[in-house]
Structures are given as structure tokens and as C-alpha cells.
């Protein structure tokens, strides 16, 4: 049976779904094909144990574009972000650093550690506001090709120059953020080890870099340029886990007429005379479409879905060189009670709740992060990993049975390539390292774990189709961002094959649950096929 569509989107992750929704909204007949039994890709919620819902991989939202939320009316379909009040950094000496949503409370807390840092923090926040504002328009534009002299491209380049030109002082700071390491950048501002470690840790998320590696400061900016309700650097917890976000986009897509099929993995793209014509599913079914779109990462797309003879040799080389190294793991826990953090022991049970209701960052200093990276450089999981932890059930009671909790732990590092053994052999040892490290700060953790799920980069590759377990579909390093993402000459969502497009995080503006690649790709497709 060969039904025909205006567009087939390969992969039902949030970008593929966003692309489908915009195409549907423009009146196109769209089919989304998802290999797994549920949509979402790495943005899924799964109830592996009755009553305990894990936001399996991705866990917090900041970068999802407000325009997409408004255009697709996502709240209508269950999208809701719950507030994270702040970030707690436990310290090794039993003290802690807490940064609250409220600036005054944060200032008082920072003063406890360093009066200079308390003042500098507000200037830092102001700088990030201006930088966020400066880069914001780039998140909703297809990158212009700087080698092109086409009038439209020159106009766009001029517009970018104008945006930065308004505030030349911030232009210098932006240049620094693009080139420095996150550690070097924050060390120019602050002195408190726990603050330095926690701020610098934003620079290592999903990237095979350490806090002292140049380029990590951009990754930090990437995590600061998101906004919720007009507020930069705000991160929200999606009610129902990240799966609810993906499902809300899927519902919006369906409301616009898109068809979504799960358990329909694509084996390859059909190509005829340099043109994509359809797909073959695992199982042999052929489906044709006027346009094919891959939301998979660039390596999956071009090394698995498309036979090599259809792609130019230089393009294939560029894709080979595309950096997509997995560096993180994920641990999800079902808990019988709340963790008892040493650093909060001086507070009553009720007083501790607000401290636990934001993010808990195991990043007591930069050295902790850099040593964790050292292990990874030589092919080992970190013995003392960095962790970014949230307890969704504290704010979202739908995630666990009454009185119980779930805990989501993003952990670095876990290199995809191990010097010894396989991830199947090493997975539990990595999980143990995570728990042992957390136990230093929360001694009761082992007593309260009911269930544990450990995902290595290899598991993420096997289960979610993330090549090498890289969460961003390719590292967010400058040589593969903006007009170079994923490869030079193809930053406009097109590919060397006619009628074959890309719409995933391997395109501009990158990963982090932005939805922007999906939207921009849809815009390109709509204008190409008008």
C-alpha cells in the first residue's frame, strides 16, 4: 500500500513534531513516523514502575520558543511549566550555597559567602540579560551563509550587525563568551567555589568539554538564553515530565491534521535521480511523499537512512567529522522519602522543602567538574560525577504516589567510548558512582531508593536513537553552530538531496528542547513548496 503525503517526517521527537504541526497548520498532509511505541525521542515520560513516572532523559524546559508555545497553543494540549524556585549547591564542609528566584534573598545568601560575589552576581545577571536579548533574534532565523553575496543574505547579515551594534560594549562580552572556557569566564567574576562550580557546570552539559576547555562558555550562554514568560535563565519543570511537552506538541500537530504513527521505524529513504521520494519502513512498507524530513541527528540521517552513493563525497566527510560525542548519563530514582541532605540538617523538615524544590547541583567547585572530565578524557565514567538533580514529585504530585518521590539526575561524565569494557558491563558501576557521590551529601540516599534506572550514552543510542548518546544531536561547539550547523553550506535545513530536509537539533539553533529547528525547517519547506 502506498499512500502519498505532502511530507513525511522521520522521527517523532519534539522537533519532528513541531515541524509536523507547522506544516499541518499550513495545510500540508503530514505523516510522522516514530520507531518507538511513544513519541518524544529523548523527551519522554515513562512509568517503569507503577505510580512512579520518570522524565527519562530530558527534564527541564527553558529554551522552548515562546512563539511556538503561542502558535501551537500548547497549553490547550496539556503543556504546563511548574516553577523551580532556585538552585542548591551542597558543599563538602556541610555548608551550602542557595540561589533563589528572588534576587534579594540570593544577595543575602551570597553575602554569607562573599560580599564581592553578591554584588558581582547582579551585574552578571544584567550582562546575561543583555546577551540573551542580543542573541535572541538569531534563534528564530535561518542562518545566513556569510559566503553568499545574495541581497537577502546581506540584508540578514546587516540586521545581525545592527542588533549587536546597538550595544557595542556587550559585543565584546559576547566575543569572550564565544571563545573562553566557562571556568575562565566565571572566574573573572566570582570567587566562591560553590558558585564557580555551579555556574561553570552549565558549560559542560551535553558536551565533551570540561569547564576549563575553551568553547564551554558558549554552552553556558546556550543554557542562559532561554526564557519563560519574558524572564531569561528561567528553567521550568514540565508537569507530567518532558513526555507531556512532546505529547502536547503531538496533539497540536494532530489538531492540524498531521498523522502520527508509532512503532513505525524507517529503514531508509528512497532516492531517485538525486531526489528523495519516500521511505521504506523496517518491515518493508513503502510510503511516498513530496517532501521527506529527517528529525534524526545528522549521523543517523546520512549514515543510516541514506545510501552513501546518493551523497557527495565531501558532504559525507563533513558528516563523518561532525562531533557528536556522548558525555552524559542519566539516573532516575524512585524514592521512599525525601533525601536528607547534610547541609540542610539545621532546618526543620518544613523549612527544607523550598531548598529541595528547585535544582540540586553537585558541583562544589570547578575542580570537581574538571576531575570528572579527566576520567572521561581517558575513557572512564567519572568516579565522582557532576550532577544536576530535580525532584519533580515535590512540585508535580502526578509523578509519584502520595508520600513517595522520583528523582531525576543528569550526570557527567559518561563517555560513549570506554577504554575498557562495554557499557552493558559498566552501566551499574556508573550508577553506583553516581549514588556514592550523592551519598556524600545525602547520607540516607541508599536507604530510600526503591528503584533505579541508569542510562548510559550507549543506552540512549540504543533506545532513543541518539548517536553516541549525545543529547544535542551534535555538540554545541562554535565550529558546528549557526551557519556551520550541521555542516557548512547546509545550515538552511536542506540537504544535498532534493526534497529531503532536516529539522532536528543537529540544525540551527541546536539542542535543548527549543523547537526552533522544527519550526524553521517547516518555514523553509513551506516556502520551497508554495
Amino acid at each position: 500500500m502506498s499512500k502519498s503525503y505532502d511530507a513525511i517526517i522521520i522521527g517523532g521527537g519534539h522537533n519532528g513534531l513541531t515541524c509536523a504541526a507547522y506544516l499541518g497548520r499550513a495545510g500540508r498532509r503530514v505523516l510522522v513516523l516514530e520507531r518507538r511505541h511513544l513519541v518524544g525521542g529523548a523527551g519522554v515520560t515513562e512509568e517503569l514502575y507503577p505510580g512512579f513516572k520518570y522524565t527519562v532523559c530530558s527534564y527541564v524546559v527553558s529554551l522552548l520558543r515562546p512563539q511556538i508555545i503561542a502558535d501551537l497553543e500548547l497549553p490547550k494540549y496539556g503543556f504546563e511549566l511548574l516553577p523551580l524556585d532556585g538552585t542548591l549547591t551542597p558543599m563538602r564542609n556541610g555548608d551550602h550555597l542557595m540561589r533563589w528566584h528572588d534576587a534579594g534573598e540570593t544577595r543575602l545568601e551570597l553575602m554569607r559567602h562573599s560580599a564581592a560575589d553578591a554584588e558581582a552576581y547582579e551585574h552578571f545577571a544584567m550582562l546575561m540579560y543583555h546577551l540573551g536579548k542580543a542573541v535572541r533574534p538569531m534563534l528564530s532565523m535561518t542562518p545566513p551563509d556569510p559566503t553568499s553575496l545574495a541581497p537577502a543574505t546581506l540584508a540578514k547579515l546587516a540586521e545581525i550587525a545592527r542588533t549587536f551594534g546597538k550595544r557595542t560594549d556587550y559585543l565584546y562580552d559576547l566575543a569572550k563568551l564565544m571563545t573562553m572556557s566557562s571556568a575562565d569566564f566565571v572566574e573573572q567574576w566570582f570567587e566562591t567555589p560553590a558558585l564557580l562550580g555551579t555556574l561553570a557546570s552549565s558549560g559542560i552539559i551535553g558536551t565533551f568539554l570540561g569547564p576549563r576547555s575553551p568553547g564551554s562558555a558558549y554552552v553556558m550562554l546556550h543554557h542562559y538564553m532561554g526564557e519563560i514568560d519574558g524572564e531569561f535563565r528561567a528553567w521550568g519543570l514540565p508537569r507530567g515530565g518532558m513526555g507531556a511537552v512532546s505529547e502536547s506538541i503531538a496533539s497540536a500537530a494532530r489538531a492540524h491534521g498531521a498523522e502520527i504513527r508509532t512503532e513505525a521505524g524507517v529503514e531508509r529513504v528512497l532516492v531517485k535521480n538525486g531526489r528523495a521520494t519516500g521511505v521504506v519502513l523496517e518491515g518493508g512498507e513503502e510510503i511516498h511523499a513530496k517532501v521527506l524530513v529527517s528529525s534524526l541527528d545528522p549521523k543517523n540521517t546520512f549514515q543510516k537512512l541514506v545510501e552513501p552513493e546518493h551523497l557527495p563525497e565531501d558532504f559525507r566527510t563533513d558528516i563523518d567529522r561532525y562531533k557528536i560525542r556522548g558525555s552524559s548519563g542519566k539516573v532516575n530514582l524512585s524514592l521512599d522519602a525525601l533525601p536528607d541532605l547534610t547541609c540542610l540538617r539545621h532546618l526543620s523538615a518544613d523549612q527544607r522543602i523550598p531548598y529541595l524544590s528547585g535544582a540540586i547541583s553537585i558541583s562544589p567547585d570547578i575542580e570537581h567538574l574538571e576531575r570528572a572530565y579527566d576520567d572521561a578524557k581517558y575513557g572512564r565514567h567519572s568516579r565522582n560525577p557532576y550532577m544536576d538533580i530535580v525532584i519533580p514529585s515535590l512540585i508535580d504530585p502526578t509523578m509519584a504516589p502520595p508520600g513517595k518521590h522520583v528523582m531525576s539526575l543528569f550526570c557527567a561524565y559518561a563517555p560513549y567510548e570506554l577504554a575498557e569494557g562495554t557499557w552493558e558491563d559498566n552501566r551499574e558501576a556508573f550508577g553506583d558512582a553516581v549514588i556514592d557521590t550523592l551519598a556524600e551529601f545525602a547520607p540516607n540516599i541508599k536507604d530510600i531508593i526503591l528503584h533505579r534506572q541508569v542510562l548510559s550514552p550507549w543506552d540512549m543510542e540504543q533506545q532513543m536513537g541518539l548517536t553516541q548518546g549525545n543529547i544535542f544531536h551534535g555538540e554545541l561547539t562554535l565550529e558546528q553552530l549557526f551557519f556551520l550547523r550541521p555542516v557548512a553550506g547546509y545550515a538552511d535545513f536542506t540537504t544535498p538531496l532534493r526534497r529531503f530536509y532536516m529539522c532536528g537539533s543537529g540544525c540551527h539553533p541546536g539542542g535543548g528542547i527549543m523547537g526552533a529547528p522544527g519550526q524553521l525547517a517547516a518555514q523553509r519547506i513551506i516556502s520551497d513548496t508554495a
Binding site: P66, L81, P83, D85, G132, D229, G230, G403
Partner: protein, 396 residues
């Protein structure tokens, strides 16, 4: 000097923000913490516990109680069954709204009326010649509102399963922690929720019990600022904010009929005489002069207005009650927006507004004033039904 409510000994230590407001002479928590959003989130996601004790509460009992209540309110009180609650306005003889509130028929001849502003004199004066006893119970009754998707579970646990079947806008006596209380399935949030009416001197025991049994469901003490966000989302009007009592109106412009408040459904004309009936019949015939509606401000023009001033959108995360003009799309002022908030839930800038009747149709395009960097701009908005968020669980 403002005084504490019967729950003060419990709310005071929890009010870490020291952010109180004065409501009818009582100290009420505006928000327990500086960051209001978790309290608001508890209304929509778990169970929020709100002290609404400063409400005015009047008991009307006796042989003529049904007749008196029926005479005062616009709703058909005489037709209410025992255990039923109605929300209704009551008017002055010219059909203009004095107030709106809830009327409970606990028993055949025992009613209670609850309102945000005093009404004792109005009820008493109308009671002349009726065989009734009218009592002001305001100070002797405390009230806790428990709102949110888990409110039923918490209250069931606190009452040993007694209220699980309580229907929407029904009331019943029950016991919590050995205290005789009344529970109604009512609230000011547009969500699943209950209000618990408690003898003032025993209120603390009920609070303690609810907090204890509610812990597994994340029961959260919640202040009035968070509740205000929820009530705007629910499209619920607030006296002295979205309309003025006819008793306190300075000008004719301030006077409103129930029809103009969107409460025409609560005006039952075809029954015995009640205060304002004749005038209301005429008002219904004539049609409204103005209407309270909902507005949805459009995101793109709003964002553009701020971006043009080189700013990120600065949105009110808590309800802004300062009235701003609303204009027709030809530029003529056609009304005012009185309760405005960015709903984080709906991801929309919403408002309750009073507009000239000819501009108040659903779908009408208007412009609301928004100040951006000291400049008054006008941003496109659409007139919508003011029930912005009314989840199915509210009535389920």
C-alpha cells in the same frame, strides 16, 4: 490596628515573606513566600490551603427565611433544595448590583449568605415584617478554602471519606478532627475545591488536621495573591476591582446590572417579587449598556512593543488591578481592563474588562493600553469568554 484571623497562630509562622494585606480589618497573607508561583502551582497541581476567614457570613433562619432570602437575591432561593448552594447577585430597587456572593440552604428554613463586603444592614432592613432571625456570624466562623486537583483526596482523608461524593455547589455538615464543620464544594479559583466553615475557636485544630493528612499530596498554605491569579483565569469578578457596588458608586457610570456583569443567568424574573425585579425586567428588555468580558492580549504585538523599546517583555506575573483603557480598533476608548495578569498556565496575557456593549461581542478586536518604558502603547487584544480556564475537574 488590624487583627489576626482565627488561623493567625498557624499562618503567621509560615508567612516567611512577612507580606500581609489588610482585608476587612484582618491580617491576611498576601503570599507566604516572596516567590508566589509555587503557591499558585499548588492550586492547579496539588492542594492549596487558603484562609478566607475575613469573609462576611450571615445566618438567616426561621419560618420566613426562604421568603426573605428569595426576596433579597435575584436567584430563585425558594426553589433551592436543602444542601444546595447558589452564586447570586443582589440588587437595589433600581436593579443595580449591590453585591454578589453565595447563598447556602443548609436546611429548609436555615440559610447562610456569604459575601466579600458587609450586607448585614441590607438583610436586616429587608427582614422587617418577616419571621426570621438574622445573625452576623462573621467573627464566629472561620473559613478555610482547599483548592486543587488533590483537594478531594485530602478532604476525604480528613473526613474519613464523608465528602467524596459531594457534588458541585452542594454543602454538607461533617466533622474534621472532632470539630463540627460545614463543607461546600465551592471556591474562588475555578478549580476542583472546597470551602470549610469552622467555629472560629476550633479552626486551628482543623488546619492542623488538614496539613497533617494533606502532606502526602503536597498540601500548601496559599496566600491571596496566588488565589487572585486563579480567579482571573477562572473569569470570576471581584467587587471594588471589576465592578463597584451600587451602594458605593460615585457616578452612574459605576452602576451595573447583573446582565452587565455576565450574571443574567442568576436572575430569575418569573417568580415572586424580589428587590429590583421590575427594574431588572426593564433592564433585560433594554439590553446591557456595557459588559464585563475577558480579553486575550496577542503575544506577537505585545512582544514587538517591548522589542521596539529594546526590552524583553515585562509581564505581570501577579494580578495588576490598576485599570487601563481599552480602545476600539478605530482608536476610541470603549472601556477599561481592571484585572490583568500573565497567566503562566495558559501562556497568555489575560484581563477582565468592562466594555461598551457594542464592542463586547466575543471575537471583537480591541486594543489594551500597555506601558512600555514609560510610553503608553496599545496592543491588539480579542474579546473572549471570561472563563479562560475552567477545567472539567471543577464540576466532576
Amino acid at each position: 490596628m488590624a487583627i489576626g484571623t482565627p488561623l493567625h497562630s498557624r499562618t503567621e509562622p509560615l508567612c516567611h515573606s512577612y507580606d500581609w494585606m489588610q482585608w476587612s480589618g484582618y491580617l491576611s497573607v498576601s503570599s507566604y513566600n516572596d516567590f508566589v508561583q509555587p503557591e499558585y502551582a499548588s492550586i492547579r497541581n496539588s492542594a492549596a490551603l487558603i484562609d478566607l476567614s475575613p469573609l462576611y457570613k450571615y445566618a438567616v433562619s426561621g419560618a420566613d427565611a426562604p421568603a426573605l432570602v428569595d426576596r433579597i437575591v435575584t436567584h430563585d432561593a425558594a426553589a433551592m433544595s436543602a444542601g444546595q448552594v447558589v452564586y447570586t447577585p443582589w440588587c437595589d430597587p433600581s436593579g443595580m448590583v449591590r453585591q454578589e456572593g453565595t447563598v447556602f440552604r443548609y436546611e429548609e428554613d436555615r440559610f447562610e449568605i456569604y459575601a466579600a463586603e458587609p450586607a448585614f444592614e441590607w438583610i436586616r432592613r429587608n427582614a422587617v415584617g418577616y419571621q426570621v432571625e438574622v445573625t452576623d456570624r462573621s467573627a464566629e466562623v472561620a473559613m478555610l478554602s482547599l483548592q486543587g486537583p488533590h483537594s478531594r483526596a485530602v478532604l476525604n482523608a480528613a473526613t474519613d471519606g464523608a465528602i467524596g461524593g459531594l457534588g458541585f455547589f452542594r454543602c454538607t455538615p461533617t466533622r474534621i478532627a472532632g470539630v463540627d464543620v460545614a463543607v461546600s464544594r465551592t471556591g474562588f479559583t475555578g478549580d476542583l475545591g472546597y470551602e470549610i466553615w469552622i467555629p472560629a475557636d476550633e479552626a486551628v485544630s482543623v488546619w492542623d488536621r488538614l496539613m497533617e493528612v494533606g502532606a502526602p499530596w503536597q498540601i500548601t498554605p496559599c496566600g491571596l495573591v496566588a488565589m487572585d491569579i486563579a480567579r482571573v483565569e477562572a473569569g470570576l469578578i471581584l467587587i471594588s476591582v471589576d465592578y463597584v457596588s451600587s451602594e458605593l458608586a460615585h457616578t452612574d457610570d459605576d452602576l451595573v446590572t447583573p446582565y452587565e456583569l455576565g450574571l443574567g443567568w442568576a436572575v430569575k424574573l418569573d417568580r415572586g417579587n424580589f428587590v429590583g425585579r421590575k427594574a431588572l425586567r426593564a433592564a433585560k428588555q433594554a439590553g446591557p449598556r456595557r459588559c464585563v468580558v475577558g480579553l486575550e492580549i496577542e503575544w506577537q504585538p505585545l512582544e514587538e512593543a517591548f522589542m521596539a523599546a529594546d526590552l524583553m517583555p515585562e509581564l505581570p506575573m501577579t494580578v495588576c488591578r490598576e485599570p487601563v483603557p481599552v480602545y476600539s480598533d478605530e482608536g476610541r476608548q470603549v472601556g477599561r481592563a481592571t484585572s490583568k495578569v500573565w497567566s503562566k498556565l495558559l501562556k497568555k496575557y489575560i484581563a477582565l474588562a468592562t466594555l461598551d456593549a457594542d464592542r463586547a461581542q466575543i471575537g471583537s478586536r480591541v486594543e489594551m493600553e500597555v506601558t512600555v518604558q514609560y510610553r503608553r502603547c496599545r496592543v491588539a487584544a480579542t474579546v473572549v469568554d471570561k472563563g479562560f480556564f475552567r477545567p472539567a475537574r471543577m464540576r466532576a
